[in-house]
Symmetry: C3
Subunit: 241 residues, 3 copies
């Protein structure tokens, strides 16, 4: 049985993992879903990437977790790449679920196409607190394309503005590549949050992992809402030895 620490992506918080976490626990695993610093509703959004990372490190230390299968979704991949080399002795495996694996020295913004960069720059300029609110049409078509409208709206209501600074911070990836922790890439085959092809998740991000295990499942970027049980089962498959 495994100890999962599930790290959400942008606009989400740890509560989105609830049904996944419950299913993992029913299967006999331990599962934790901390909220990254500056994420969720009603919190101070003034954080940088290092603070986001530190909040997950602190969580793992506080709970004193070992043999961790650490999963990052989307933006959460950038967190994994910094947490793992800080606590390598506590890590059993890393799972990147449609997640960023930045090139050394890149920020998340450096890894997304121009039209997203321009969109986010425009949105942060409109905000009063240096955050980005995901527009509903993008959410509905490119993030949660496998939901009906009702679920798309209900899930959208659970999102919160994303702090912009962590998107901008350049990441040192050398420590990540210096530690030898088994890694998996979980790819949802209808995930177009990044446009497929040149800018797509897979194999662009996955191939940067070196030797990795590929696990795939049908669904969008948001199977956490549209198919949490299926997601939990694939997490087990991606996370086992």
């Amino acid at each position: 049985m495994s100890t999962f620490v599930l790290v959400h992506g942008s606009w989400h918080d740890g509560s989105a993992w609830e049904p996944v976490r419950t299913h993992l626990e029913e299967k006999g695993h331990r599962a934790f879903s901390p909220t990254i610093a500056g994420h969720g509703k009603g919190v101070d959004k003034n954080v940088n990437h290092a603070q986001c990372t530190q909040s997950i490190i602190d969580f793992i230390l506080e709970k004193d977790l070992y043999d961790v299968v650490l999963l990052g979704h989307s933006f959460g991949g950038t967190i994994l790449s910094q947490v793992a080399p800080a606590l390598p002795e506590r890590m059993r495996r890393l799972i990147f679920w449609n997640a960023f694996v930045c090139e050394d020295g890149n920020s998340l913004l450096d890894e997304i196409p121009d039209h997203y960069q321009a969109l986010f720059a425009g949105l942060v300029a409109q905000s009063s607190d240096h955050t980005v609110t995901l527009p509903f049409p993008i959410w509905r078509e490119a993030f949660i394309n496998d939901a009906d409208l009702e679920l798309a709206q209900a899930a959208y209501a659970r999102l919160s503005p994303e702090p912009y600074q962590p998107f901008c911070d350049k990441l040192d990836m050398k420590p990540f590549h210096a530690v030898d922790i088994p890694r998996s890439f979980l790819n949802c085959t209808e995930d177009i949050a990044l446009p497929p092809g040149e800018w797509g998740w897979h194999p662009r991000m996955s191939n940067r992992l070196g030797l990795y295990r590929l696990v795939q499942m049908p669904g969008s970027h948001e199977v956490i809402f549209t198919n949490p049980i299926g997601l939990a089962e694939k997490i087990v498959e991606a996370g086992r030895d």
Copy 2:
């Protein structure tokens, strides 16, 4: 409940939609499957692309349809790209099902690899009426690869020669890109009617749509024959708000 107008591809006519249409109607939707001008058996094949387009515009006006979910398959995508900007106020959503989304100023021929261009040029030269008859081996291997031989043959018997001129006509795509109608791309994952990769349907064609919803299903270019119920269900998923 939606109003679907289903536009077939080359060599097909509207009758191929029968089981899909029936299934959509059983689910409470309205569904129409007009035959494009110059298509089907026993008709004058002397048409150009504008006449093909006009025949679908006329159909929608004659039936006085509004809130249309307009779907185009394969060649039918070139029709969608011209019909939609002519009747934007009647369109609710566009679905490109393994369909052409030409670059501005391109013909369909400009969008296919050299070996197909050469094949079609040779076939039209052999015809007496400026048409292309699809060779059975290509149909069997690259179009309906998920059928058994019996179904491949039965479906082939329903095809008719394709007028060549609409393949040659250059298309103005600027009006299409000027109207803001939600769009989906429905991709069959074993569709090799266009060779996968550099010349493939997805993401080459889909990424030209700007913001779009991706829906995928298993099957060949011809699930209209091999899995019409599954196709109908994915059309609903691609067509909903």
Copy 3:
């Protein structure tokens, strides 16, 4: 009903086909699974590619098989490309299952990325008999990624060192391209034995076949162990007329 000759890949021998062969026979087909010269346990590993090819030619002649659906897996694709033009009158169809289709004049080594070339060169240097033993971590993550650890270990125990010389021999592909035998490509969608993308099996290898039928199934490079019944069913689909 078909006559299948199933040609295994590197590190395997013919016994790995047992459950697939049984299932095909239960469905009324004939199925054979010869072991390539220099493969399997306890045999002389001093073979070149021509000897590997000849052993399969000899098998087909000895059993006097006609109307053969000849399938090659992985390295087995290089065998197919040499056997088929030697016995074209006995071939009904070729199936490349995540298999090499080399460019004319290339060896298998020329078709794999640098990191694999370097790995194999290092491993052969360590061996006493000019063979390559596949390291378990690569097997577990990149070959049999859909197995649990127990099955991954059990299947690994059945592998044997692979003779290196057949990887090095340059292959004349002109005879293969000169014979006109229908061909299929069977692709497992989670097969990352070759890294997806630039170096991937599909569509890199498949598109070299000219007109071909694509059949896909979920799973890793080793569904022969993880899903032999599903594999057998897809082999039937790939192999029918």
